[in-house]
Symmetry: C2
Subunit: 313 residues, 2 copies
């Protein structure tokens, strides 16, 4: 985030004093049994102008569903807000992607608005997603020293897909797909939520997001780099050594879930996870406030950049 | 609206098939007892780049509250989405206006997001407002021939204020205030809602919005131009003759309420309206599908433009 955004959010925090705002530190707000989130994506900031428009529509819906997933909420309804740029074919394909994602995850689109902007202005596409939370809507806070950290999904594919596209805009394949078509972990989020001391989605890089969870929970953490779940495509492109694993841990756009579960709970044994679910125990919360990394060869120094900060700047 | 927007909304309608979407023909969506709306405002489209930033923040909140008012809903929560343009002072003042409006109408701000756009991109400011509806959430449809049409608030001030500003950007006064600081009719909306066969807010010009209500309700209407409520400031600036009244009826940005109430109900007698409430019976719904205007001198031909279409184009 830019200084301007951090400043702005700090000022906003002084206004957003309702407990449901969760100090603007969480993935979503809570209102009664509702979970509320709004994420916008902008052309040239969160997606490439040459990304297929249907994938942009898919992404707009799924990045918001990922926030609901992180709170264990069931999708109820969405409102969409789009700027119209005078390219009806683009907009038609964009809407087909919105419709596909809403259909895939049972999210009724209830309304929103459109604005015609002058030609040349970057598109700004927003979605409010409303979900119903369970009895416990895990926050980023609530993690306790000793909790085991679990990751749901894969790391590094999306950021690598973006890097591949930056080198060759015509590139295709599973890494590019991961960048363009995030998969929200709704089913696992709902299964984890009743047990999770803390949970969030990983969208800006695992290390950066884990640090947010740590700060909100008042904990340190030890993370096992060797445990990070990597895809075959990622390993083929980037490798699996320490450097590759640090790339995966700092890449952003993963839309994986990060959960702090009680040490005694093994979700693979205790929960009826959908077949094919990729989950991995990747470390533990600890006393203190430090984030330490290790792998089979020993302690690993923290990289300079923990996540994908410039993505939003 | 532009052709592009109409096209887009037509396509959107094919996706938004949930009954709560109300065919995208209403001011807001309905989900259980919740009323949901999202309106964005863009620099150079819905506000002037030289408008005081606090008034822009006020407007963003109140245009959304006006949609809740039109459904008789009580404000519950808001999510805000803003683009950050690299002018922290502007953003600070903008937020002060958001805070003032949220405070004035008891709307807790629960979250949202920020995007840093490249310098020069027009600002896009969005708000999702969530309210709790009563037992009857009046739609634009539901009006019946014979219903009396009531207007809550004043007409023409805001559009005249904009015209005044276009001639002199340093102008001040009540008309400019009306343009910059809409007042949502929340209290009257809540009192009207249980009785209203149809209700909406007037934001694009009375004639245009009335025509939307008529089409949704499958009715015609007869409107008494002489009955339109005009302010002293409007009369001083524009006059009160037929031409001035047509200006007031087509100007836009009024954020008044238009309600179709059963013929026998006089809200001034039957409802405990807040003191100072400006309400006026302005006509009736009729059989057929035609909108006819009259004044003391007889029938009045419909003007060519029924509302403020270019506002969003």
């Amino acid at each position: 985030m830019s200084i301007g955004e951090l400043d702005f959010i700090e000022r906003l925090r002084a206004i957003a004093t309702h407990p449901g705002a969760r100090r603007l530190e969480d993935d979503a707000a809570v209102l009664g049994d509702l979970v509320l989130t709004h994420d916008s994506i902008a052309e040239g900031v969160h997606y490439r102008p040459d990304d297929p428009p249907a994938s942009v529509g898919w992404k707009l819906v799924t990045v918001n569903l990922s926030d609901l997933a992180a709170k264990g909420a069931e999708p109820l309804a969405a409102l969409m807000s789009v700027t119209i740029g005078g390219d009806p074919r683009w907009e038609e394909l964009f809407l087909s992607g919105v419709a596909a994602a809403c259909e895939a995850y049972g999210l009724p689109l209830l309304g929103g608005d459109t604005i015609a902007l002058p030609a040349g202005a970057p598109r700004v596409l927003g979605l409010t997603a409303i979900g119903r939370g369970g009895a416990h809507v895990p926050a980023r806070s609530g993690g306790k020293p000793g909790d085991r950290l679990w990751l749901v999904g894969l790391l590094g594919d999306a950021a690598t897909g973006l890097a591949v596209l930056e080198a060759d805009p015509k590139a295709e394949g599973p890494l590019v797909e991961a960048y363009r078509r995030p998969v929200p972990q709704l089913a696992v989020g709902r299964l984890f939520a009743p047990h999770a001391h803390a949970m969030m989605d990983v969208s800006d890089g695992l290390l950066m997001d884990l640090q947010r969870l740590m700060r909100a929970s008042g904990c340190g953490a030890r993370l096992d780099l060797d445990a990070l779940p990597l895809s075959r495509a990622f390993i083929a492109e980037v490798g699996a050594n320490r450097r590759a694993r640090l790339t995966a841990a700092t890449g952003g756009d993963d839309y994986a879930l990060l959960a702090a579960l009680p040490a005694g709970l093994d979700p693979a044994l205790s929960l009826s996870l959908p077949s094919g679910t990729i989950i991995a125990p990747i470390g533990r919360l600890a006393e203190g406030e430090e984030l330490s990394l290790f792998d089979a060869a020993g302690e690993v120094p923290l990289p300079e950049t923990l996540g994908y900060e410039h993505r939003r700047a």
